[in-house]
Symmetry: C2
Subunit: 241 residues, 2 copies
DNA sequence: TAGATTGTTAATCGATTAACAATC
DNA sequence: TAGATTGTTAATCGATTAACAATC
């Protein structure tokens, strides 16, 4: 039997829940770098990132062993290792499709560049919109997609309306895009192997509404209610005297 | 011992993971309503929402028992029950703080209104921005916050830059806001009982980058690699001949 | 060495899945 | 009734947490 290759923790893959928290650790380390902090304990970094120190150490253990017992972590070295684990040792070119309000805002957002991404193309289906200037780029037609993927673009952002989202996703996948960030308020179907993450503003608000409603309900059953939502807000929780 | 009140599933609380999927079911039901479909099976609805039918039925079981064995679910009734569980039987007024690119895009997004929310106020810290018109509203100063919460606003959206996010959060919480949707690329600390959900565009892209990187790595070890990211994209995965 | 803090273990908890009895 | 599909159960899986041995 040929020897099976021994995989490191990183090669075996990091649990999804841990991957989702790594960007937060990166951001916390950047904040600390800006404050001139060179070394941190798991406890300090956990507070800055808003997690427990046990969870932080467990998450970092999936990348390797980059701390020093009794001392802590070197900020810049840990930052590098997390960047590397996330694949951010080089910039990723990104294409945004759909130049409505949201697409234009994303195109000019600027927050991507400093985080390891560069918006290299803006596309729109509408001939009226093609040719317009948005920020530093000129909007191009959908037909340029294959050329973009040919030159190495693998991440696409859908900022089109819900009814167009599936068509855009099909076009992206057809051209060879492997990862999609979907801002349209609808689910899109893609073949296995293509990654889709969805950012849905209305869903996020609905989840908050659920918790606000529970607050109102518990106030109504547990305490004299006056029927207004405001009465159940945080500042009024407590024992009346 | 006095009898303990018997709580229904809804009163006991719906698991977080299930709550997070309810908006997707709602959206799928709306799509079906628009197509004139009056009744669905868990299998059909699950496909539309992009989950397994077992998960869908399990999730719905937390709300109560609104299906008919052998038949399925009445689309409009199920829609109503999910709306009710999420607290969407009335509109929730929302305040957006921060009128940069993103805040303006959110203010004019329109997607909130149809989903049970109405943007009732836009605030900004900058006196130059206060008084400007954005969509149908005029930007107001931060000082109006207490008046807004007094009139029943309990949900706030932070669209301010990272360095201002904590100050905005403090102002929101201080005025009595109970739920916050944070678009700033930083974590904010709030007292227990205040809900915060964060939408971080760069984090989402970083998570996609992780998966793209793994794709490249596995292509390099498992197949002859040519060193370009494009070679590892979905369309080229497979056995060369 | 004594004190501090990591990395890991094991226990607990919550979420997912498959299967099927209940029942329309 | 026969066929279909729900709602629930039990098994599995993955994530979280607390505790502590390893070790700087």
């Amino acid at each position: 039997m040929p020897p099976v290759s021994v995989e490191s923790a990183a090669e075996r893959g990091i649990p999804d829940a841990a991957v989702a928290r790594l960007p937060g650790y990166l951001r916390a380390l950047d904040t600390m770098t800006a404050s001139g902090i060179a070394s941190v304990s798991s406890e300090e970094l956990a507070v800055e990132a808003g997690v427990s120190s046990a969870k932080l150490r467990k998450d970092l253990s999936h990348l390797g062993s980059y701390g020093v017992r009794g001392v802590g972590y070197d900020v810049s070295h840990l930052r590098y290792e997390i960047s590397r684990a996330l694949g951010l040792t080089h910039d990723w070119p990104v294409v945004i499709v759909g130049m409505g309000n949201l697409g234009r805002a994303l195109a000019q957002y600027g927050g991507f560049e400093q985080q390891g991404f560069s918006v290299v193309a803006l596309l729109d289906h509408d001939p009226e919109v093609v040719g317009q200037r948005v920020g530093d780029l000129v909007v191009q037609p959908m037909t340029v997609l294959p050329a973009l993927t040919g030159s190495g673009v693998v991440i696409g952002v859908i900022a089109a309306p819900a009814q167009a989202a599936q068509d855009v996703a099909d076009a992206l996948v057809g051209a060879g895009i492997g990862s999609i960030l979907n801002f349209a308020p609808s689910a899109v179907n893609v073949p296995d192997g293509v990654q889709v993450r969805r950012v849905d503003l209305a869903s996020e608000l609905q989840i908050l509404a659920y918790h606000e409603q529970r607050r109102v309900e518990s106030a109504e059953s547990g305490a004299p209610a006056d029927g207004t939502a405001a009465s159940a807000s945080a500042r009024t929780v407590g024992v009346a005297r």
